[in-house]
């Protein structure tokens, strides 16, 4: 294998890592919610989609009212997007899931599909069905290698990796070290007992939805800045791939979600780079189906024993 191939492989690896980091960030939301109330938050992908719109709107608004330094603009966009999606995440839980706590098994999932349709159609009505675009904020790439053979990573991509790393570390601290994290883990283990011990489990559940939404917003903000193009339909496919990541890593496990995200991202990047671009979604769905059939507990999850 010559150096040229190595650079191509390296490039795909970088693309895959960046893609995987975003999947991982979104997967956190699926994984935490599933871990705590045992439902698939089907509308989570749509939160990611909404965050893309909010980011673009904020950036456009900043441009409209006169310039700010790029760094400040990005920070403001990120914080504002996080705030809006946090409210959205909280609202969705409050309105569509909380009343269904004691309903039949399929009710929350059906309700979640409803929410997902609502969000998609709402954005379509509010912002139009057209494909949206956003200007590039940070020009420039980091190049590794020589003149003809090199691999590169754009500053936006770098930003995604850094953001993913920072947010993962802070989440780890939050869950592992703080009082909230302890109540969160307790609720995951046994919600009834946690309630008896004086933990406000309802608040924990709400906060978990908010955290999930915020992480989706981080992914949404930076991915939108990186790709610069989005529409109201991106939530569905990205959401499913992120869910695949959550399942691959072991649903309920946070390091698992990130690991699964990276693996799915790299696998997808390699598949579309070296095998076939048209079938890359088939490949991702195929992974999902295969894991669920062969090892539904994922890489870092605990296997469930059938209780009789």
């Amino acid at each position: 294998m010559n150096a040229f191939d190595l650079y191509i492989i390296g490039q795909q690896l970088i693309n895959g890592l960046v893609l995987g980091a975003t999947y991982g960030l979104i997967a956190i939301g699926y994984s935490m919610v599933y871990g705590i109330i045992g439902m698939i938050n089907f509308a989570h992908g749509e939160i990611y989609m909404v965050s893309a719109y909010v980011t673009a709107l904020v950036i456009a608004l900043i441009a409209y009212f006169g310039g700010l330094p790029v760094g400040a603009a990005i920070m403001i966009a990120l914080l504002f997007t996080m705030l809006i999606t946090a409210i959205l995440g909280w609202l969705i839980e409050r309105v569509a899931y909380r009343p269904l706590k004691n309903s039949f098994r399929l009710a929350p999932l059906i309700s979640a599909i409803g929410v997902s349709l609502i969000l998609q159609n709402f954005i379509q009505l509010a912002q139009g069905a057209r494909n949206q675009a956003m200007p590039t904020l940070l020009e420039g790439v980091l190049r590794i290698g020589g003149e003809e053979q090199f691999m590169q990573i754009s500053y936006h991509q770098l930003l995604i990796l850094v953001a993913a790393l920072v947010s993962m570390l802070s989440l780890n601290t939050l869950i592992g070290k703080t009082k909230f994290g302890r109540s969160c883990r307790a609720t995951q283990q046994d919600p009834v007992m946690a309630e008896i011990l004086g933990i406000n489990t309802q608040k924990v559940i709400s906060l978990v939805f908010v955290i999930g939404a915020v992480f989706a917003a981080i992914a949404g903000t930076f991915v939108t800045m990186n790709y610069g193009s989005f529409d109201f339909y991106i939530g569905f496919v990205t959401g499913i791939k992120a869910f695949t990541a959550a399942v691959l890593g072991g649903i309920g496990s946070l390091p698992g979600a990130m690991l699964g995200g990276l693996l799915v991202g790299i696998a997808e990047s390699f598949f579309s780079g070296f095998v076939n671009t048209d079938y890359k979604d088939v490949f991702a769905f195929g992974i999902l189906v295969l894991i669920l059939i062969i090892k539904p507990s994922g890489l870092l999850g605990h296997p469930e024993v059938e209780k009789v």
Binding site: P303, V305, E306, V308
Partner: protein, 292 residues
């Protein structure tokens, strides 16, 4: 008659089950005589329900064997029903191995039930949204084989056919005193009646061995009394062998002929109620000992 009673309907030899390194059952041996009432007792977590799950095909043992005498009087290895008989080059065993190999794909728990082992569950598992009668009819679904076309397009003929099953359902509803509640939603019944309905439902699959998992749990003394007479009548009237898991010792001591005591996945004692009562090992398992 006396000779027949001595026949074993079920023999469990060296049964082993482990879950990811933890040995839930470690060489359990016992056998049950046909037409008797036996009990499986032991402290919580001793592996009683695991034994039941093996007997009724929900778990596959990792070792040992369970032999059940089926209605033709042949001894049937339960592993055969899952197509998971041990492979060997012995000529006789080889032919049985291949005879039951299709079960690897088409077999399963339901074949155990069809062979004649019925069971109830610790936490009652009724079809809550369906009516009491429908619960019983579902248990008799084997009697409805080949009635799809008739049922869909010739309701009148189907109703004629259904009469036999309905009269059997009526018989069982009367036995457990639920006839007046036949069209109620099963989930709406009070707890004690749900237990009885579950037993009636299991009896509708014509078992020859019925495994009751803590039938008296959650019942008050009067209900327990009724339950023990129901269990005795299963033996006397229906000639069914009964195996039960129970924590209510007075019930166990009153109606059982044989008791098997499990602790830490091993049989620590078996015998008549009298023998068990005075067995020091059993007492220490339940109450603990001073000198370990």
């Amino acid at each position: 008659m006396a000779q027949k009673r001595e026949e074993k309907i079920l023999s469990v030899t060296n049964l082993q089950v482990s879950f990811g390194g933890i040995r839930a059952l470690d060489g359990v041996d016992f056998s049950i005589l046909e037409g008797s009432i036996s009990a499986l007792i032991g402290p919580n977590g001793a592996g009683k329900t695991t034994v039941f799950n093996c007997l009724t095909g929900f778990y596959r043992p990792s070792g040992g064997s369970i032999n059940f005498k089926n209605s033709q009087g042949h001894s049937l290895n339960l592993a055969a029903l899952f197509g998971s008989l041990p492979f060997s080059w012995n000529r006789d065993q080889l032919s049985t191995y291949f005879k039951y190999l299709p079960n690897k794909f088409f077999g399963g728990t339901h074949l155990v039930t069809r062979a004649g082992i019925g069971r109830t569950f610790q936490n009652i598992r009724l079809f809550k949204e369906l009516s009491v009668t429908e619960n019983l009819l579902i248990a008799m679904h084997r009697d409805f084989r080949g009635t799809l076309i008739k049922g869909l397009f010739f309701p009148k003929i189907y109703q004629q056919n259904e009469k036999k099953q309905l009269s059997k359902a009526k018989y069982w509803l009367e036995r457990v005193g639920l006839l007046s509640l036949a069209n109620e939603r099963a989930g709406d019944l009070p707890y004690g009646l749900q237990r009885k309905l579950e037993i009636a439902r299991t009896m509708c699959v014509n078992p020859r061995l019925i495994c009751l998992d803590e039938p008296a749990a959650g019942l008050n003394p009067a209900e327990t009394e009724e339950l023990s007479s129901l269990i005795l009548s299963l033996k006397e009237i229906d000639k069914v062998t009964v195996l039960l898991i129970e924590h209510d010792m007075s019930l166990v001591m009153n109606i059982c002929e044989q008791i098997v005591v499990l602790n830490y996945g091993q049989v620590i004692a078996k015998g008549t109620p009298e023998e068990i009562k005075n067995n020091p090992k059993v007492i220490s398992a339940y109450l603990g000992t001073e000198n370990v």
